[in-house]
Amino acid sequence: MFNDVSSSALRVAVAGLSARQTAIAQNIANIETPGYQARKVKFEEALSTAVDHGASPSSVTPSVQNSLEPSRLNGSNVNLDEETLSHVDTTMRYQLTLRALDSKYSMLRTAITGG
């Protein structure tokens, strides 16, 4: 009941977006750290492949990669504009995913209480 494809896909998405949120906070905290390489969290492709192939979405874990942006003079390659936009985007996606999860739960609650 709680482990249908859409619920577990949504849970994986929440976990991935939360990891991305932390990675962005980490990148912005280290914006002036000499030699720091920005991190990018990826999970969307793996999640959509898993759903397409009928595999269990809960096996998908977010992967962390270093950013390929060119480094600035101090060796840090954090791009503040991109990080800020990505953070706004991640925040909204996170809230959207939570809202979808919330609707799933409220349907279950309706079924449990009988309306």
Binding site: I24, A25, A29, N30, T33, T91, Q95, R99
Partner: protein, 130 residues
């Protein structure tokens, strides 16, 4: 990983850049210090940011000191002047300090806005199931 991790990470960034701002304001406050030629000049402090050891955010890795040599200035009227009329002043460039100040200030603001946005996400998560 704590529950509200992104806020803690951004807070560590805020702390680093506040220390950076403190260092720059201290440098600017002491930019006109005069010392005897036999003493050291005021040494500017430069904060070195570093990734935190536990991988959560940033920390101050150390402080680099500017030149103790400073510059010798001919000021025969200065009570601290030596027999040739020289005093020692710190070798600090106000322009570069102002640039550092702006940079640290913007980084501070960027980290604070991360806290703000992360708070919205966590609020949504707390309200799940209500």
């Amino acid at each position: 990983m704590s529950t509200f991790n992104a806020i803690g990470v951004a807070a560590s960034g805020v702390t680093v850049y506040r220390k950076w701002l403190d260092a720059v304001s201290d440098n600017i406050a002491n930019i006109d210090n005069v010392t005897r030629t036999s003493d050291k000049a005021f040494q500017a402090r430069y904060v070195i940011a570093q990734e935190a050891q536990d991988g959560n955010g940033a920390q101050v890795g150390g402080v680099a000191l500017g030149s103790a040599e400073g510059v010798l200035v001919h000021e025969p009227d200065n009570p601290l002047a030596d027999t040739q009329g020289y005093v020692r002043r710190p070798d600090i460039d106000l322009g570069s300090q102002m640039a550092q100040l702006m940079m640290a200030q913007r980084a501070y603001q960027a980290n604070l806005s991360v806290v703000d946005r992360a708070k919205d996400s966590y609020t949504a998560a707390i309200n799940l199931g209500k």
